[in-house]
Structures are given as structure tokens and as C-alpha cells.
């Protein structure tokens, strides 16, 4: 067996009492507080400075706590939230199209295929309205109507328009807001910013998180940092597929090293493969660029009816085009949710209808929208995306359709957290994409910026002080504690050992091989046989990594290969757990599609009787241990997720 099950441990989700609408208020009403003059006595470490980390740092510092933030980039404002394009959801109902907290809650829960906690999802929808007001107050330049009101557009999986946006650069604008709020606290000396630092271990004293070990990426110095609580805001680990929409530095090391110290990882195989990315064009490629889902508001997706079509897109007549999303999902059409749109694309590509030189893409066509609305209107909405497309591909998408393809994008899985965003390790919190919380088995577009902001601005600033208040008087932690010394020693030894292997293959070689295995066997579709093969292949690759890796030896000063080696070493372990997670879940839900569990027309078959739970994985010296958090649907009834 690849894993064992522990049915005695029951995760404590800590969902407050009361009606769904009252739970968050009830929590806030009853949360323990720390008085303003005592907050200065507590120190919080936040790892990661994207939207969730920066917003949490700014908010906690504003409350009076001392905060240290860490990021591997040269500036906190480069965190990959900066690349989010399309928008952020909020149930303002500005369009008068029937939106409400409940509708947004239900859309998100259904979008995630009923594999998330009701109370968490409801809170996300509830807090969404305030976020827009807060961001506007910070100066985030959301798009506006001629009248001056904020504009909305529609994203996949919903039938209302609730997405607020700043052209195709919403993430950058929101991040600048959070970054400025945080830098104000840096100036006020409430936040200390450690740039070009990477967390390499979590330190526990008596089972409680008390600090981290970090490496200065410029000097190679290993340093110990103490705190009364540690927050991981380190984003997702989709870069494990090597080719992904993520930044080169995005990694899973912080959460994985926390996992190795006892934190549960929840549903790690649930990865969103985004349907609208630029297709791979060669083996040298380092990155697949995302084209915002917002393009699907006006672009129509199709493939040629004829297999191995060699005519140009513009030469293929209308009746020989298969608008397969409109055909299969008439009520949502091109705005079907991401998992469904990606799988439908893969189905057509595998059936021989793919386009482009590697036959690995589908068309996203603006012909009709350009004819109806004119070039100026389309340029206003998507101009920067069309420019970006032309820069990368050399093709003018005003004249011919874009070629797009699915690519690894977002990790729904991550560290398990309770309603208070605390992991099972006391004092260790996880926010934003690094946790598993609100999106279930599939995230809806424009809910990621929302979750990062809501976790950082609104939830953590309530729940983390509640933890501190319960943990007694503020204590001073000694960085010479044996736990810190031991952790530091282990980190140093690992770094030195990478250099000593002195084999024949680069880190990128191993990363690319791992990516291929995972994309093939633990990507858009999964089978029992494929996953079993993948687990063995990853084990072999890992053995080979420790025998045949070649990196420059030195551990002091800048050594990018050493940084990458640590990340890929972790990926080689995370990848195996992803496959075990996918193997253990014998149903199809959201982005997790097991070929054995589908209807005759290729739709997912979810199994609520046996798999109505979140899989929490505990580290063990033997096989990983599965602990189940059973989901209770008190206020909704899980239905078949149909977008037909």
C-alpha cells in the first residue's frame, strides 16, 4: 500500500456555531483580544509578500504587532500576485443581475464541486464587498463605466457579472496597494523586510511554531528568526510541473518543510490546469504564459472539425469549425469553469483536432466580437493582452485567432487549515494559495486575488491575535534553543550535500523530467495504472537526483543552482504525495478527473458516499497517513455539478 488511513484522528475545523450568515460575526464577537499597549510585545513572522502576505503584514502592523516579512525576490512587490490578470470577484451586485452573498457562496462551493467547507466559502463571499471599498481607498484603479461607477465583467462558472478589474493587470494593481500599505509600516519600523531571503525550515519548540531558518540568497548566510507565531503566505506550487504559468522562483519548499515538521497537507493533487495559456513551442521552454480568462467573455473557442487540418484558421469556413464548449455546455458556453474547459480542450486535442505546429492548441477567436464591437472596444478591454500575445508569438490576434492551450496554474491543495487559518501545528498559520481552504476541487476565476486579500486583510488579523491571546503571556524565544541549532545544522548539511554529489545532470533536467511525469499521469486526467507508474518513476528519479546531480559547489554567495536544488528536492517528494493523493481518491471531482469515474459523455462522476472529505496527509517514516476531515453540508445540498 502506498498509504495508510488513520480514522481515529478527527481534524478540528473549529467552525463557529450559528447560522451560516452569523458564523463569522459570532467568531469575531467571541474572539479573545490583546489590548493595544500589549501588542508591541508580540512578534510575527510572515513568509511571502504577495497579496496575502503583504496584506497580512500591513494589517497586523497597523494593529500594533511587530512583523518580519521574508521574500526571495529583490523587492516584496515582485511576488507573483503581480501577474494575476483578469480580476477580483465581489458580490456588490452593481449590475443589478441578482448577485448576493448567498449566490456567490453557492457559485464558489459548486465551482469547487462541493469539496470545501461551507462556512469558509460563505465567509469569503461575505468579506468580498469590503475588499473592493478598501482597494479603492488605497487607490487601486479599477475599471469604471462612463458614469464613474466601477465596471464588472463575467468570469467562468457564474451567470452574473461580479468581477472587478484593472485592465489585464488587476493583480499588479492590488499588489501595489498592499505593498504600499506594508511599506508604510516598514518606514514606521513595525515591519522588518528581509528580501532575497528564502525560508529553509520551520522551527518548533515543544510542538509549537516558534520561528524559521532562512538563507540569505546573496551571501549564503544561514540565519535563525524567532517569533510568537509564523504565517506561511508562500503561494502555490504549480511550478512542480516545470512548465506552468508561475514565476521561476515560485516553489513549495516552505510548506513542504512545514509538512515535514508535522503540518498536514490537504488534497495536494488538486491542481488547476488553466485553459487559456500560450501553447508550448519547444523543449527549451521555461514558462507557459497565461492569457486571462476574461478573454473568454468575447473570444469563442473552437477547433477544426476535420482532423489534422492544415489550412490556416482564417481559411476554414464557419460550418467546418467546432465550437465545442458552446456545443457541449450551451448554458455556460465559452465561460464554462476552468477544469471543464481545460479537459474539453485536451479531449479535442487528443482526438486529433489540435492546431498549431505541435498540434497542441485550440483557437480563441475574436472575429465575431471585433465585427460587433469594433477594434477600439476590444483594445480597450484587452489591449495589453493582445500586445503580450504578439510580443511572445509574433502574431497579431486582431487579424487571426489566438492559439491557446491548457497549462498548470493554481494549487487548490496546500497546507490544511481550520476556520481560523491555523494549521494543525499551534502557532503556524497558512494564508492565500499556500493553504487548502475555500476553493475545493476547482477554483473559480478571480477568486484567487479575493482569497489572498480576504485572508490577509480581514481574517488573519482577527484569528492570529485570538491565538496569541490564548497562548498566555508573550514569551521571549531564544534563538540558541537546541531546536534552532539542530534545524540550522540540518539545513547547512543538506546544502553542502547537494554540491558533493558532483554527477552529470543539471537541476533543470530533473525538474523537467518530474514535470513530464506529473503532467502526463497526474494532470488533467488520472488513472490508477498511470498514477502507480508515476509513483515508481518519481522514486527512481529521486534516487537518480541524489546520485547524478551537478551544481556549482559553493554554499556562500549567489548560487542559483543551489537554490533550485533545494526546491526540486522538495518537489520530488511533493510529486509523489500528489500521485498518492490522486490514487487514493477514487472519484472525479473538479480538477481531479479519474478516467475510471466518468459518464458515457465524459462528465465527472463524484462519489459523495465514500469521498465526501478533505484528505489531510500526515508525514510518517513509512507511508503517508491519510486523515479525513468529513465535510458537513448543513445549508446546501451537494448536487451534480452541471454546466450544460
Amino acid at each position: 500500500m502506498y498509504f495508510s488511513t488513520d480514522s481515529k484522528q478527527i481534524p478540528k475545523a473549529k467552525v463557529p456555531q450559528g447560522d451560516l450568515r452569523d458564523k463569522w460575526s459570532n467568531f469575531k464577537d467571541q474572539a479573545k483580544l490583546i489590548s493595544p499597549n500589549n501588542r508591541n510585545k508580540y512578534h510575527v513572522i510572515i513568509v511571502g509578500t504577495g497579496l496575502s502576505g503583504a496584506s497580512a503584514a500591513a494589517s497586523l502592523a497597523e494593529l500594533g504587532y511587530n512583523v518580519s516579512v521574508f521574500c526571495f525576490q529583490d523587492s516584496p512587490r515582485r511576488a507573483h500576485s503581480v501577474a494575476a490578470q483578469g480580476g477580483v470577484n465581489a458580490m456588490k451586485n452593481y449590475k443589478n443581475d441578482g448577485d448576493s452573498v448567498h449566490r456567490m457562496f453557492y457559485d464558489t462551493l459548486k465551482g469547487g464541486d462541493f469539496r470545501a467547507r461551507e462556512a469558509n466559502v460563505y465567509r469569503l463571499a461575505e468579506c468580498s464587498a469590503s475588499l473592493i471599498d478598501q482597494a479603492v481607498a488605497q487607490g487601486v484603479p479599477f475599471a469604471r463605466e462612463y458614469s464613474g461607477y466601477l465596471s464588472n465583467r463575467s468570469f467562468g462558472g457564474v451567470q452574473v457579472s461580479r468581477t472587478f478589474y484593472a485592465r489585464g493587470q488587476t493583480g499588479q494593481q492590488l499588489l501595489l496597494g498592499a505593498y504600499q500599505a506594508m511599506m508604510r509600516q516598514v518606514k514606521a519600523k513595525k515591519v522588518t523586510s528581509y528580501t532575497r531571503h528564502e525560508m529553509l525550515d520551520l522551527v518548533l519548540i515543544n510542538g509549537v511554531a516558534k520561528g524559521i531558518i532562512a538563507r540569505n540568497l546573496d551571501t549564503g548566510e544561514i540565519t535563525r528568526h524567532t517569533a510568537n507565531a509564523v504565517v506561511l503566505a508562500t503561494g502555490g506550487f504549480g511550478k512542480i510541473y516545470y512548465l506552468s504559468t508561475l514565476a521561476m522562483g515560485c516553489n513549495g519548499s516552505a510548506i513542504w518543510r512545514a509538512h515535514k515538521k508535522g503540518a498536514w497537507t490537504a488534497c495536494p493533487s488538486w491542481t488547476q490546469i488553466h485553459p487559456t495559456c500560450l501553447p508550448q513551442s519547444g523543449s527549451y521552454q521555461s514558462k507557459l504564459t497565461l492569457m486571462s480568462e476574461s478573454l473568454r467573455n468575447d473570444g469563442r473557442i473552437w477547433v477544426p472539425l476535420k482532423k489534422n487540418e492544415d489550412r490556416k484558421a482564417v481559411d476554414i469556413p464557419e460550418e467546418e469549425r467546432d465550437y465545442y464548449l458552446e456545443r457541449r455546455y450551451p448554458s455556460f458556453g465559452n465561460l464554462a469553469p476552468r477544469d471543464i474547459a481545460s479537459r474539453a480542450a485536451k479531449e479535442r486535442i487528443d482526438a486529433g483536432h489540435g492546431v498549431g505546429s505541435l498540434k497542441n492548441a485550440v483557437y480563441l477567436d475574436f472575429k465575431d466580437a471585433l465585427a460587433k464591437q469594433g477594434k477600439a472596444a476590444i483594445a480597450k478591454k484587452y489591449g495589453n493582452l493582445f500586445d503580450m500575445y504578439e510580443k511572445i508569438t509574433g502574431i497579431n490576434a486582431y487579424k487571426e485567432p489566438m492559439k491557446i492551450s491548457p497549462a498548470a496554474h493554481f494549487s487548490m491543495g496546500g497546507l490544511w487549515v481550520d476556520y481560523e487559518l491555523s494549521t494543525n501545528i499551534p502557532g503556524l498559520f497558512s494564508i492565500g494559495e499556500s493553504n487548502f481552504s475555500d476553493h475545493g476541487a476547482n477554483r473559480l476565476g478571480a477568486n484567487s486575488l479575493l482569497q489572498a486579500c480576504v485572508d490577509g486583510y480581514y481574517i488573519l488579523p482577527q484569528t492570529l491575535p485570538h491565538y496569541l491571546a490564548q497562548s498566555g503571556k508573550p514569551e521571549t524565544i531564544n534563538s540558541d534553543d537546541p531546536a534552532f541549532l539542530e534545524s540550522e545544522l540540518q539545513v547547512k548539511q543538506q546544502l553542502e550535500n547537494f554540491g558533493k554529489i558532483n554527477g552529470h545532470k543539471t537541476v533543470d533536467y530533473f525538474h523537467r523530467e518530474l514535470g513530464k511525469i506529473l503532467y502526463d499521469k497526474c494532470g488533467l486526467t488520472r488513472t490508477e495504472k498511470g498514477l502507480t507508474l508515476a509513483i515508481e518513476a518519481i522514486k527512481n528519479l529521486r534516487d537518480s537526483f541524489y546520485k547524478d546531480l551537478k551544481i556549482p559547489m559553493k554554499t556562500d554567495g549567489i548560487n542559483e543552482e543551489l537554490e533550485k536544488a533545494g526546491r526540486v528536492a522538495d518537489y520530488l517528494e511533493i510529486g509523489e504525495l500528489m500521485c498518492i493523493d490522486a490514487l487514493s481518491r477514487e472519484e472525479s471531482c473538479g480538477a481531479h478527473f479519474r478516467m475510471e469515474h466518468q459518464t458515457n459523455d465524459g462528465e465527472a462522476i463524484r462519489n459523495d458516499e465514500e469521498f465526501n472529505f478533505i484528505s489531510c496527509w500526515q508525514k510518517s517514516d513509512k507511508a503517508p497517513v491519510l486523515i479525513k476531515e468529513v465535510l458537513n453540508f448543513e445549508f446546501t445540498k451537494p448536487t451534480e455539478r452541471s454546466y450544460k
Binding site: G282, Y284, I551, I558
Partner: protein
């Protein structure tokens, strides 16, 4: 495509640097400039040489972390294009390309 590269190599801020010559072969015109350097680095690492250090992160033209001085111009020959969004189709086959770090206060040289 094949290129001759003249790259500014400097071990640290405190030591002096110099231009070094390299060649890269079989480069696809669809490759990004940084992917071309990735390929050079793979070869350097495998032959036991010190790879070239350069910053990059998002590689989609938004984070602002990358930046090379290419043929005497910041980010190379195209306007409104960060280094990561520059592709080899913007160069002539066989061309010699000069690559240097920015010489600007906010971007101090750490290692190249």
C-alpha cells in the same frame, strides 16, 4: 540560429570584471532571450564552469525583476519590452550580441 555572445563576467561587486566570449548553437527564433541564456548555462554547468547569474522571475513582463543591457541598450532592441519578453527572432542569425548588467544605482551588480 547561432550566436556569438560577449558577456560581462564579474564574480562580486568588489572585484573587477571583464567581457568573455561564448557561442550558442541551434537556437530557435521562438526562444526568449533568457531561455537562450538558460541553455548556455546548462552547458556551462555540465562542463564545470560557473553559470551566468541573471535575475528573472515572472518571465511574462510584469514583475520587473529581469533586466540586461543588450547591445548597448536596456532590455535590448525593442521598445516597451522587458528582457524576458524579448525573443531571439529579434536578432540576426550569426550576430554577435553584447550582454552587460545595468549600470544603475537601484540595480547594483552582485554577480554576473
Amino acid at each position: 540560429m547561432d550566436f556569438k555572445l560577449k558577456i560581462w563576467r564579474q564574480e562580486q561587486a568588489a572585484v573587477s570584471g571583464k567581457m568573455m566570449a561564448y557561442t550558442v548553437k541551434d537556437i530557435s527564433p521562438d526562444m526568449s532571450f533568457l531561455e537562450m541564456l538558460d541553455q548556455l548555462n546548462e552547458n556551462l554547468i555540465l562542463s564545470g564552469q560557473n553559470p551566468i547569474s541573471f535575475d528573472s522571475d515572472c518571465r511574462e513582463g510584469i514583475c520587473g525583476q529581469c533586466g540586461l543591457f543588450i547591445n548597448g541598450r536596456a532590455h535590448g532592441p525593442r521598445g516597451h519590452t522587458s528582457t524576458c519578453q524579448l525573443h531571439m527572432r529579434s536578432f540576426q542569425d550569426g550576430e554577435t550580441i553584447y550582454i552587460e548588467p545595468f549600470r544603475a544605482g537601484p540595480f547594483p551588480i552582485k554577480k554576473t
